[in-house]
Symmetry: C2
Subunit: 206 residues, 2 copies
DNA sequence: TTCTTGCTGTTAATCAATTCACAATTGCTT
DNA sequence: AAGCAATTGTGAATTGATTAACAGCAAGAA
């Protein structure tokens, strides 16, 4: 794991890897920066720069060895142990994401989902779905470190109050409520409403 | 509606307004930049600069008039007519967002939701939930211009292929698939997997 | 062998976003 | 009336992200 990678680079490395994992294996062992850039619709220089930052070097003619690159990205951004993730109050989106995390190459594992309503305890694939009232207990017992939080506003405060009493270290926060958590917890906010209003703005001016 | 606002400013203006709408009305008619900044955990200069960009000016002692500011933000970022939004394949998250759009102050209206599975046609609040197979028809009939797309990978291509044959102008894309759409459609990607891997990275180094 | 081609690695340039810092203003206090 | 205190509006500085540009290299063609 490399220190001091820019946040956006970390995100892109994740994208590179995922794209490469799905890359038709055919006989292709290598890929050029501009080819990968084209697949991801980004600038080739960006890729070369990102790979430079993690010290991965390609062949001047053949390009980048795909398997080695996948491995190197893992070394750069994955943590050593597997981290468990929980989805709190997010139905279909979790489902849309889940398949990837059942692949071999990932250090993240979806360990539980929670709902504020309905099913008190059901299975979804191999992931158990609990009622929200069991959240704290399960987060602790399962040693979950990352959560995706997408519950209605009215729940947000109480739930985040419980989360800080667990071992959770990171929250992807889709509630439009600003969470009051200690510094040891890393929060990434995403405000759907603001994004929609931005979308509205740029579809009417641009 | 103002041209040439930076994207991030547009997003923040949306956040400012929403925060102000929920601001305890008490007797407070005015708010200072640092007070609002504190509520949103951002830098006060940021707020002053954003408001400068939309030509809103405050009182050197009282601060910003809340109602006027709300109105001005509307003039700056809202489009004139109401725009309709659809949620495609996103259950709870849509629910978590929906309440806001039933407020008076918004130009966006959730007009439909679609599911890839289960309920062929049910109601959620006043919003009808259709089966995905009716999507194109409904998008056209309802004149929907914005969609939030969060279906499993395997559906993404086919669905985006249908979307481009409607009047949709903007897509908030939560599928990790790069959509191939013409330039007239504004796409904002959000890759949950990449965000989670970033979260994992920064909870293990920082 | 020598030339051409096309790629990587990397520095430099550009562009965008954020924050600093302070002049100007004006109510309030004395 | 004069000085203090607090706030806005904004130019300048800083930080960060992206893109351009090209030297250096090596395979393959001539």
């Amino acid at each position: 794991m490399i220190k001091d990678l820019p946040p956006n680079t970390v995100e892109r490395l994740s994208l590179y890897r995922r794209r490469l994992l799905n890359y038709p294996n055919e006989d292709k062992l290598y890929i050029h920066s501009h080819k990968l850039a084209h697949l991801l619709k980004i600038n080739p220089a960006h890729i070369r720069r990102d790979l430079m930052l993690i010290g991965f070097t390609g062949d001047v003619h053949k390009g980048y060895n795909i398997q080695n690159l996948i491995d190197k990205i893992g070394k750069a951004i994955d943590c050593k142990h597997t981290q468990k993730v929980a989805f709190i109050g997010i139905g279909d989106l979790g489902r849309a994401v889940a398949d990837h995390f059942n692949q071999k190459e990932t250090k993240l594992k979806i360990a539980a989902t929670f709902r504020t309503s309905k099913p008190p305890k059901t299975q979804f694939q191999e992931v158990t779905c609990y009622h929200i009232s069991d959240m704290k207990k399960v987060l602790i017992k399962e040693n979950i470190e990352l959560v995706v939080l997408a519950v209605p506003r009215s729940y947000a405060k109480a739930i985040s109050g419980e989360i800080i009493r667990t071992k959770v270290k990171g929250i992807l926060n889709f509630t439009s409520v600003h969470l009051n958590v200690p510094d040891r917890i890393f929060v990434e906010d995403y405000d759907v409403i603001a994004k929609l209003e931005k979308l509205s703005f740029f579809t009417n001016t641009a």
